[in-house]
Symmetry: C2
Subunit: 217 residues, 2 copies
DNA sequence: AATACTTTGTGAATACATTCACAAAGTATA
DNA sequence: TATACTTTGTGAATGTATTCACAAAGTATT
């Protein structure tokens, strides 16, 4: 298994495959690249190429053993062990993240949540009691290495700093800004607004009614 | 201005630039590519290349006029006019989207919200009253062409169909699945879980204590 | 006016990602 | 066992995106 030189785009697709495979577990024992393609909407050739970076693990004429493939992808993505994460920011978005049902399938669990608003500290959402953001310390001891940031932009850099100080090496950032962190720390930013903002570019322009009438005339 | 053959990656970055430029408006009249780079964390050469696809609109030795640049980017992204959108799914995530403050800067406004759960229909969040999802009809008449889907995976395809039937041509999809829509309809999917799922791949592996001791011995 | 400096803009070169063409290795059938 | 069929896997070709090298055009300074 040659783990070096994996295209970033492949790493981006692996969780998508994993998601589809988990859903396909009941369907049967094995799945072909074209069957998988039908689910995820990615070219089967691309799928095979992606898998080939880790060595061939399908059988020709048949396809891929689903269970085996799931295990393999989980190992590649380091999802074979469970991960604990903390959430910072229990506003609207933070609360939604706390209740989000999709993390469990990948082995993620939110172990603690923080906020700096006294009105929120002490409240319980989804069995998690919100703690004071000042208490983000020594997460390494609790084996927590992932932080999720859902605070307003102005506070996000300071929170990132706290998380890194506490031992976090991976951050999922919902704040619409760049975070300055040490090189060893990986940040993935989700910016809902910038994603929505490129939608109109791809949408067909309005047809002018006058023009349409002219064409018909 | 040659609008053809714009790299997809450039379109993805334009909203990020726009966001930074709106924040820089107070700072001064013009901004250089390296100053912008410091804010958004994108190589200044890349920034200039991106802008050059639309024709040079900076002045050498000075930089870019911020106001002019904002107008230009807004026009390219078709954000120079306001956009109305509807939200479907008023669960945790949907409610967070409804309250999300970041859309306004790009000229987006959520005009209506729908859900199929009778317990939610009639409730008001952020001045928007949740309507029955059955009533997603004739949005074109109201000049609404964007739909945001935040319903469980099982329902998302049906909702997408309703939105398309009602005249929507752009969808922001938070459901963890592919949506089958006509070619003219653009879908952008945000999958929080798959983004989180590739974080461990990039995080440094735990140091084994035994190995560290061996090295020291 | 001449020189030094700053910053944009662009064709060429490089790096990265996808697709093609086809070989390899399996299953199913006669 | 031979033949037809299916599906994976991979080097080469193509396509897309980023970076390089440097020219062009402005400002600031002497």
């Amino acid at each position: 298994m040659r783990y070096h030189r994996i295209p970033a785009e492949t790493v981006r697709r692996l969780p998508v495959y994993l998601n589809a495979l988990l859903l396909s577990l009941q369907q049967g024992k094995s799945i072909s690249s074209s069957e998988l393609s039908a689910i995820v909407g990615i070219n089967p050739l691309q799928i095979r190429k992606d898998f080939s970076y880790f060595g061939g693990f399908g059988t020709r004429g048949v396809g891929y053993n689903i269970e085996k493939l799931i295990k393999k992808i989980k190992k590649i993505l380091k999802l074979d062990s469970h991960h604990q994460a903390v959430l910072v920011g229990a506003g609207n978005l933070g609360s939604a993240v706390l209740a989000y049902p999709g993390f469990a399938a990948y082995g993620f669990q939110i172990a603690a949540a923080y906020d700096s608003d006294p009105a929120k500290i002490g409240k319980t959402i989804n069995n998690i009691t919100i703690e004071d953001a000042e208490n983000i310390i020594n997460l390494k001891k609790k084996n927590i290495k992932i932080g999720i940031i859902a605070v307003p932009r102005q506070q996000s850099q300071a929170i990132a700093q706290s998380l890194v100080n506490a031992g976090v090496t991976g951050i999922l950032n919902f704040s619409p800004c760049r975070l300055a962190v040490p090189k060893r720390v990986k940040v993935i930013t989700i910016n809902i607004a910038t994603d929505l903002a490129r939608l109109p570019f791809y949408m067909p322009a309005d047809k002018k009614i006058g023009f349409a009438l002219n064409k018909r005339a």
